[in-house]
């Protein structure tokens, strides 16, 4: 005999029942093609609203007892349970999910209280409350949170806005990569990181790219960090060879099985984190030494795509990936929101919603959230949709976005945000780059009084010279 359904509600003339909390969470989620593909989305709009009404009345503390994936079966669940800070949770421990939404929107939820609360929240709690929130709620609450991280720049300060310069090239040609890097610097981009997705995955090739960027940085005195986004085992090997590794990169997901599909587990990430810290390549900054050495990327749909979703909705799974990320106090976490394709996020509306959910959930959990605001050519999305999400995330206080030449990544074949787009956010929200990087831009004549300028001949010669001519 199957267990009888646990949750019931009559809405209007119709009766709805949900067999367990996982199913209820999935049905309460905004419509996404990935949840439909998994066969777990609400079957109707009324079923979705019924699920939300039930969810709103559940105690937040339920998520500490009803673990959506069992403790014994999944090391991400064990991480979430074992690292939960009951004292930090105390101020909201008596609230229902719906009351928690009201609390977050209210005056009690200040930057200080939210920072103190973060270790008391689990991914499932923040995912649950996100399902009750409108777009403006996701923006308003996230905008209160301040998460500051450091390496050679100080990121996430209130009123600042940073960019990852992404100078990818289809064959990793060093001159091509430096050409795109220079173009980005002329636009004042790159204070979060200069990060290359390598076309070739060999350690030799990655070490070559790391040296290329590090030489360039040292010659120009540019205060930023570099990263080659290759598998963590490659980066460990590169470090063993003495390569100049600033940030250790890895894609992470919200279940042990999905991480296994990425070829990682927590023990491996522990090892990589320790190896990165040991290099002490960050610098002493105004607020402390730069010891945030990890860079993680995530994205809704990755667990389903690895057939490792355990019947959970992709929004909740994504929030669980943030539990993995926060264990390592990363410098940057980037949700790559529209890259995975329309079978997970079908159109601009779904991509926009997912990007705002991810930013909200990550920030509440205490992470320096950025977003690769992007789309592929087979999704129902275009530049108007990326502009919309860019504007909303600018209002929400996103930590960083991508800077891709002309928004067109010629290696990964997708469209992201451009250097020009970053300036749009700077103008609209009056948000300059990280202070150390902003000072360097002024010194190099790349900006004057915060505005974009053309570099003088001498500075241009210096930059071009550092790039090898």
């Amino acid at each position: 005999m199957p267990e009888p359904p646990t949750y019931h509600l009559t809405l209007g003339q119709r009766h709805f029942s949900f067999r367990d909390l996982r199913r209820l969470m999935a049905c309460a989620s905004p419509l996404k093609s990935g949840d439909e593909l998994a066969g777990i989305a609400a079957g109707s709009s009324q079923e979705r609203e019924a699920a939300r009404q039930i969810l709103a009345d559940l105690p937040l503390s339920l998520f500490l007892e009803d673990l959506l994936i069992p403790y014994e079966a999944d090391e991400v669940t064990r991480l979430i349970v074992d690292s939960h800070d009951a004292a930090a949770f105390a101020p909201v421990s008596g609230l229902s999910v719906g009351e928690f939404r009201d609390w977050l929107l209210g005056d009690e939820a200040t930057p200080e209280t939210l920072a103190a609360l973060a270790p008391g929240l689990t991914p499932e709690m923040v995912a649950a409350v996100s399902k009750l929130m409108r777009v403006q709620d996701l923006i308003l609450v996230a905008s209160k949170v301040e998460v500051v991280t450091r390496f050679r720049t100080t990121l996430g300060l209130r009123g600042r806005f940073s960019t990852r310069l992404q100078p990818n090239h289809p064959t990793d040609d060093p001159r091509g990569i430096l050409a795109s890097t220079l173009d980005g610097l002329m636009f004042g981009c790159g204070d979060a990181v200069i990060g290359i997705n390598p076309a070739l995955d060999s350690v030799d090739s990655c070490v070559g790219l790391l040296r290329l960027l590090d030489d360039f940085r040292q010659q120009t005195g540019m205060p930023t960090q570099s990263c080659v986004l290759t598998h963590v085992t490659n980066t460990l090997e590169a470090m063993a060879r003495g390569a100049p590794v600033d940030l250790v990169f890895q894609s992470v997901a919200g279940t042990q099985d999905a991480n296994s599909g990425f070829g990682i587990d927590l023990a491996l990430l522990d090892e990589a984190h320790a190896a990165g810290l040991e290099l002490r390549r960050g610098t002493q900054l105004a607020g402390g030494f730069g010891d945030n050495v990890m860079y993680f990327e995530t994205g809704q749909g990755s667990a389903l795509s690895a057939n490792a979703h355990h019947g959970m909705d992709q929004g909740t799974l994504e929030a669980r990936a943030y539990a993995v990320a926060r264990r390592y106090r990363p410098l940057l976490v980037n949700t790559v929101v529209g890259f995975i394709g329309p079978e997970y996020l079908y159109d601009g509306k779904q991509i926009i919603r997912a990007g705002l959910e991810d930013h909200f959930c990550g920030k509440l959990l205490g992470l320096p959230m950025g977003c690769d605001i992007c789309y592929t050519n087979h999704a129902e999305a275009d530049g108007d949709d990326t502009d919309t999400l860019l504007t909303l995330l600018g209002a929400a206080g996103v930590t960083f976005i991508m800077g891709v030449p002309g928004a067109d990544d010629i290696m990964l074949n997708y469209q992201s945000t451009s250097f020009h787009d970053a300036w749009y956010v700077r103008h609209m929200f009056d948000r300059p780059p990280a202070p150390e990087f902003a000072a360097w831009l002024e010194k190099m004549g790349l900006s004057r009084d915060g505005g974009l300028t053309l570099p003088g001949r001498a500075q241009l010669r210096e930059l071009m010279g550092a790039a090898g001519g």
Binding site: L37, S180, M186, P342, A407, H420, R457
Partner: protein, 258 residues
Amino acid sequence: MTDDLIPWASLKEFTDARIALGRAGTSMPTRELLKFNAAHAAARDAVHVAADFEALAESLQTAGEVVLQVHSRAADRAEYLRRPDLGRTLASEALAELAGHPPSDVVIVVADGLSAGALAHAEPLLALLLPELRGAGLSVGPIVLARQARVALGDPVALALQAKLVLVLIGERPGLSSPDSLGAYLTYAPQPLTRDSARNCVSNIRPAGLGMRPAAWRLAHLLRQALRRELSGIALKDEAGEPPTAFAASELTRLPRG
């Protein structure tokens, strides 16, 4: 702002990335905005324009090939994009179409995939590849044209046609600067639930990417090796190198008549 006002415009020589675009204020200048939009439009059309299989079917039949046409269980583009599982499954009527053909070494599936425009490269590729395969003594079964198809649709096709190996030529996910790339996926002894690691892929086949001659050369090499060693996937490495001068020197772009 024009090129002569962008002091680093010379860097364009080193990359096809959209660098040194200039700016209007700090925003994208009109000329570059329109270029970007036009490239996106080409990529969108590549995904959404229905593939025209009729011209290809006619050319293949005129050249003496047996041509079969099948459809996946994805009814239209919208369903195809949302339901990859349906794009990997044959529509029920396809089995009748595929019945009654003798077993063969190789069956070739030409699939629309994500780029109808890429199908323009199927005929010139086949014009080089088919004689090479037959010249090596391999039997080539019917050419199967598949609509709303993913790579894995080749597996049930090969099973129905009792082929040892299936080669799927399929329109790839279009990039902004490459809306018409054809991909080629080779699978030895395909089964239901064949893993991607059991396939070999030759991608970016298009005139401005991997040309027809090197693509046909590499595929012919991989096919012969797969059949000889009775495997495909990560254990089978692409060691074909560049085609010798004598290979398809005339670069046929059409199939021979009859």
